[in-house]
Assembly symmetry: C3
Homo-oligomer: 417 residues x 3
């Protein structure tokens, strides 16, 4: 491959990595906006720690667990701790058929890795203890995520089977969602969410922050999906841009229409989550769909969101930011959609997709459940009732997100508890 | 053209599309910051819907209205619903002389399209009904914007005449501004803005949000203007970066100096709008100007802003975010500046520019006025007095942007009404 | 060089310039979040003015002071006011060996220049007068920064000596830090920060804003360091991405561990500043380090942060945002680290690094001290005690960042003064 094409291809994957990095800010803003002000510092702190843990453990362990090399078709492999660069400039250029360098490969994949914990952090917000959560993250991102990731992207058994997941509707989003599900089952709902009288919505404290988060996630998704082409190929990347954007737009529309029909409401958090649902939904097949199919997938994801939110509420599973609806349910939907729409559609493909979701789901849920359960019976995973009432910002961090307006707010907070 | 150059060119237009996407976040943040807290959810909701409507209608209709192909020099054309990709890989590569793919062309133009409604949404904030506004957006973005856009960028009659508008001072910004003007004339001012005693400034509720919005708009503008080169040509794009940045910087300085001289004030909203004025001003000729000319154009745009804000207030036209000053007045200024400065300057060019502004302005204003008028006499376009007092967040969305601090604020809100 | 490679290289430097631009938003958000709400408009206003001043003066003066051409090894040079483009398309292409155009060179360097004042603006927040601060910025960014910058990057005497500073741990960050140090010595601490009873922490008013700022700074740093390769070279840029990201991640971890050991606390502002410390620390040698060395440099920077914050407090030097700890102390650390780790490590290099830090530090501190001192004895640099109590937003701008919640806040503000 000539140097100019190599430079251009590599450039795109590096830029895509930077865009995926922005998704961590997107998640931080979204989650901060959707929790109460008394838990804002805590959620920001967790999201700052997650990107640190994600990058460091992926360097130490994760990358070589996810891409072990060796024979294809396996369940597990490990190429050793740390990174070992292909020898010399020639090795560097030849790496990955000249599409990008070893370092580019690492940084792009590393930015993906931390995402799965960020998804969990939203679902367990406002009641989990900081220490156990960070331990959970270390294990989840350094072991669980790369092992199931290897099954498909590391040329493992699901890849050989025919399972398809272009940029990670299952491998990233549903994995985060399964982890979140295990965690919230063990953790229980926030105080006051589910009472004998019914379900009490606990609105987030800062909707502009949540909206900023969603726009930044969409922004980053152009790198998440577009970078997953793994080259700057003009036709492939630009098609992925179109399907990604149209699916997000259709997700907004789907949630808008559905919320209006179901609840006669124009709920901002629904259209925001509809947008994310559309993005998660298109992720598995963003390179396979026509624009019209992308719109269909996104629109259906948008319809799913309000139903899913109601379903989790009815199941008394408390998820303050809707992460399970967005990432788990729409992740499953998007993975199945590869069997229903686009170039691979067919009954056999539906089978492969179901096997992929089920096997990755079973592994991830079990892993997360066991880790959380052990943490629960040893350290405890939930803050005390008093700390939950006070808020985690004061209880865990002895600080407040907006200290100089707190006098009024604390009085108010007391009055509603 | 060789594959590497094609890849690099296409890459830049795709990245530029992503930067233009960020402008929607910029507008959302700016407008949310400049309205009162009781109308914040509403403005965010509208901006989320606009990007959805913009992308979907541009896919269905707008792209083929704006670029109909066929004979040049026309007033109207339509190449059919949906997108029809050039056949095969060869067609894809040859499309647009190898500069970028069909999909890249679509996504870059689609990101532009929704912008014109975002401009309107700021001007009509805090008093328009949600339903009629969304209907207006659908019609404005899918019909009015692409028809006048075709006159120049779709090789229509203005293009043949000699009218020049590089990246859309008129085609995008003034179009949004003319739509906004028609809307605010029909809608009337917010309660309490203009009274017998005089003009009451109604300050926005969150200036950091507004400042974030302006910085993000500037960020996105590098894609808006830089991408309008329609290739990654090193000399052309980098010159556009320089003129765009210097004009924005000079716009800030122009508004800073003028506000200080006029009002002895250091008003943050003036320098923020001065920055945007400089950006809108350079947009029509960003590829034609020297750095010094860019500074002159931006500085004059910065001077215009405070005068224009005062003028609209005197005319009792209420525009909460200053969108008409920034996008309409500075859009006209920037379009005229192409006849005064730079490579095309000359008396004939001034004539072409005036014809372009006048014809596009007349069409757009008329279109927007008629649509809004029909909506006014059928559905009504303005919320009730009671709803305006309560705020649109509660009235239209039954939610609040910052629910847990509302107790104090509502009391306060009552006290100032 | 072939056109495609030139296009790709140039593209990367332009995109890097845009990323560095975002750092100005990052600084604005970070500083706004870390001050009290009554000084928020003021800090935003200053940051908007700084980018304007930085770009305009760099165009008029700075670029030609920093890159004067002529004989290498000098202390001072000047190539004349304004910009003079290499003649014709051929000159443009050949400029800088075909890596990028003249305009790209200018815009990338211009985005860097304004950064040094942004660092100062955080340290002097909440008590400096607007007018003198803006005069200081004009002089600092148009004279001091480019003169010392020329010593290394303009092929001056430090470059000839062997001093190494890849992307500006000293040339940008410590320069900003030395300027900040001079300013806060002359300015004195905020009222109430240091009393007979001890040190009173004055918490920032909006931690989500500060967290957004840090993430955006990290985002921009990929352009700051990655663009400093001055080409799109795949191997070099992608290595810089990896070292930059890992050092930031390790900085977070270093501050997390150290704050917990020292204070038993999980202080969000410490991990945020730890992240920035890691970024500043790797900047001088981002192209020389292995991933493991980058982690070591970042981790040590993260450890330094809490100690440095305590040290400045003990010295009764008041820096509301921790800019001196992050940019001065970690800037010095990162510059020294080039002599301790990586390809250039060695005793001679340590000597060069010390000479570089000392000479640039002495020049910059003296320059800043003299300018601030003259401003102090002529115009005065500090607002009145009454204005400081009221807040600079009302005192200097007659406006408020969050006007509609002010009634409660002002009462509260009164109650704590």
């Amino acid at each position: 491959m000539n140097e100019a094409l190599f430079t251009a291809n590599n450039l795109w994957i590096m830029i895509a990595a930077v865009l995926v990095f922005v998704m961590h800010l997107g998640f931080a803003a979204l989650e901060a906006g959707f929790v109460r002000r008394k838990n804002t510092v805590n959620i920001l702190f967790k999201n700052v720690m997650i990107i640190s843990i994600g990058l460091l453990t992926y360097y130490i362990l994760g990358f070589n667990l996810m891409y072990p090399g060796g024979d294809p078709g396996g369940f597990f492999g490990f190429a050793g701790f740390g990174l070992s660069m292909p020898e010399g400039a020639a090795g560097l250029i030849e790496y990955a058929d000249g599409g990008y360098t070893y370092w580019t490969d690492f940084i792009f994949q590393a930015m993906f890795a931390a995402t799965c914990c960020t998804i969990v952090s939203g679902a367990v917000a406002e009641r989990i203890k900081l220490g156990p959560f960070l331990i959970f993250c270390v294990l989840f991102v350094s072991l669980s995520y790369p092992i199931t990731g290897m099954w498909k992207w590391g040329a493992g058994w699901l890849d050989e089977l025919g399972f398809y997941d272009f940029a990670g509707s299952t491998l990233v989003h549903a994995v985060g969602g399964f982890g979140a599900l295990a965690a919230i089952i063990l953790l229980g709902a926030r105080k006051g969410k589910f009472t004998k009288e019914g379900i009490n919505p606990i609105p987030g404290h800062n909707l502009p922050l949540a909206a900023i988060g969603v726009f930044l996630l969409w922004f980053g998704w152009f790198g998440f999906n577009g970078g997953s082409v793994l080259s700057g190929d003009a036709g492939a990347v630009s098609l992925v841009f179109v399907t990604t954007a149209l699916s997000a737009a259709a997700g907004i529309m789907g949630s808008f229409v559905t919320s209006y029909i179901l609840f006669k409401s124009h709920d901002l958090s629904m259209v925001l989550n509809g947008c994310l649902g559309g993005l998660v939904g298109i992720t598995a097949g963003a390179d396979l769909m026509s624009p019209m199919e992308a719109i269909a997938i996104g629109f259906i994801a948008g319809i799913i969101i309000p139903f899913s939110v109601v379903m989790f509420d009815r199941l008394r599973l408390d998820d303050p930011v809707g992460a399970t609806s967005v990432h788990l349910i729409c992740g499953i939907w998007g993975t199945l959609a590869v069997g229903l729409f686009g170039d691979l559609a067919g009954i056999a493909q539906i089978g492969y997709q179901i096997i992929g979701i089920a096997s990755i789901g079973a592994f991830t849920f079990t892993f997360a459940f066991i880790v959380m359960y052990v943490l629960k019976i040893t350290m405890g995973i939930r803050v005390s009732e008093e700390d939950e009432l006070k808020g985690l910002d004061i209880a865990e961090h002895e600080m407040s997100a907006y200290p100089d307006t707190n006098i009024g707010v604390e009085n108010y907070a007391m009055s509603i508890q």
